[in-house]
């Protein structure tokens, strides 16, 4: 048996989303099982099944370090905070007698 990951797409503009996994003997049985196990109540109208071993990935340690590099974040929050601070400081100086 092979483990397959199942992805569903609902009608409309939603993207495919991971719905779960299943065991099947081959691709044909996998798509049949996906139909009966994941969309029998109309949960989606398009289905992908992907053999789990066909998914290219790496373990968590390969990706984890980039969580810790704030200089790569470009949300602008730090810059905005600094400019707000300067504005408030200037305003305070202007108000001074």
């Amino acid at each position: 048996m092979t483990i397959y990951e199942v992805f569903l797409k609902k009608d409309g503009r939603d993207e495919f989303r991971h719905a779960g996994a299943l065991d099947a003997a081959d691709d044909e049985l996998a798509i049949i099982a996906a139909r009966e196990c994941y969309v029998r109540r109309g949960e989606g109208d398009r289905v992908w099944v992907v053999a789990r071993n066909a998914i290219v990935t790496e373990d968590r340690s390969f990706f984890a370090p980039n969580h810790d590099k704030p200089h790569r974040h470009h949300s602008g929050e730090a810059v905005a905070a600094r400019r707000r601070e300067i504005r408030e400081q200037q305003a305070a100086e202007g108000d001074a007698p």
């Binding site: 065991d23 081959d26 044909e28 049949i32 099982a33 139909r35 196990c37 029998r40």
Partner: protein
């Protein structure tokens, strides 16, 4: 509602009873099929068959649930027109899978007899049923094909087929007044006329069978019940019998 003649009733009832019991047999595998995915798929297929049975019975008695239930559950055994294939209790999964394959391939041919039925409801039902049945056959075909590729599974399936064929021939036992139903245009031909086509399909899938040597169990025009029928009916009625008037 179209007026239903006694012959039309017999033919429709035979089909409904087969669908009802086949659905019941399939759904009894829920929780005990060999693996979860198959468990769900098989129960789902069983539900479809129960749905077909309800729709066929509706042709006979109208849409009220109480009327359908009375006909579906509270007839005496000699008033049923199911065939022994669907009445037999099969504890072996291989036998069950082979029965599923044999039944659904015959079922397709059987629905086709109603395509131009003089009863419009039946002609509509053919379209609805086939939209579901093509997935049933695809499931049965894919399972059988996958198992036939593996030596020990192939041997088990072949043994199952040998056990199931005599029972399966009972599908083509027809009700006594079927000829009248054909004359009335309810069905285009006898279900037995589909036998050769079905046998060709069996040969194509499982290899050539020695049909001359395949015994059939005694044909009774669907009036005789298999030894497992009484227990099956009592399981079907188990919850209903607690309180027949309960509303669900």
């Amino acid at each position: 509602m179209t007026q239903i003649s006694p012959a039309a009733r017999s033919v429709i009832l035979a089909f409904a009873d087969d669908e009802h019991l086949m659905g019941q047999q399939h759904t009894e595998w829920i929780g005990v099929a060999p693996f979860l995915e198959e468990d769900l798929a098989f129960a789902s297929i069983g539900q479809d068959e129960l749905g077909h049975a309800a729709l066929l019975l509706e042709v006979l008695v109208g849409p009220a649930d109480a009327d359908i239930d009375a006909l579906a559950f509270y007839r005496e055994p000699d008033e049923w027109r199911s065939c022994p294939l669907v009445e037999a209790n099969l504890p072996d999964w291989g036998d069950t899978l082979v029965r599923h394959w044999l039944y659904d391939h015959a079922e397709q041919l059987r629905w086709e007899l109603f395509v131009d039925s003089s009863i419009p409801q039946l002609a509509d039902l053919v379209v609805r049923a086939e939209s579901e049945e093509r997935f049933h056959r695809r499931h049965a075909d894919a399972m059988v094909e996958a198992l036939l590729r593996v030596d020990d599974a192939r041997q088990r399936l072949e043994a199952s087929l040998a056990r199931m064929l005599p029972l399966a021939m009972s599908m083509f036992d027809v009700v006594a007044d079927e000829a009248d139903a054909i004359a009335e245009g309810v069905i285009s031909d006898s279900f037995a006329s589909c036998l050769a086509t079905w046998q060709d399909r069996v040969d194509a899938r499982f290899g050539d069978q020695d049909w001359a040597a395949t015994g059939a169990i005694p044909m009774t025009a669907r009036t005789g019940r298999h030894g497992d029928f009484a227990a099956l009916l009592s399981r079907i009625r188990e919850v209903l019998d607690l309180d027949r008037s309960a509303v669900w």
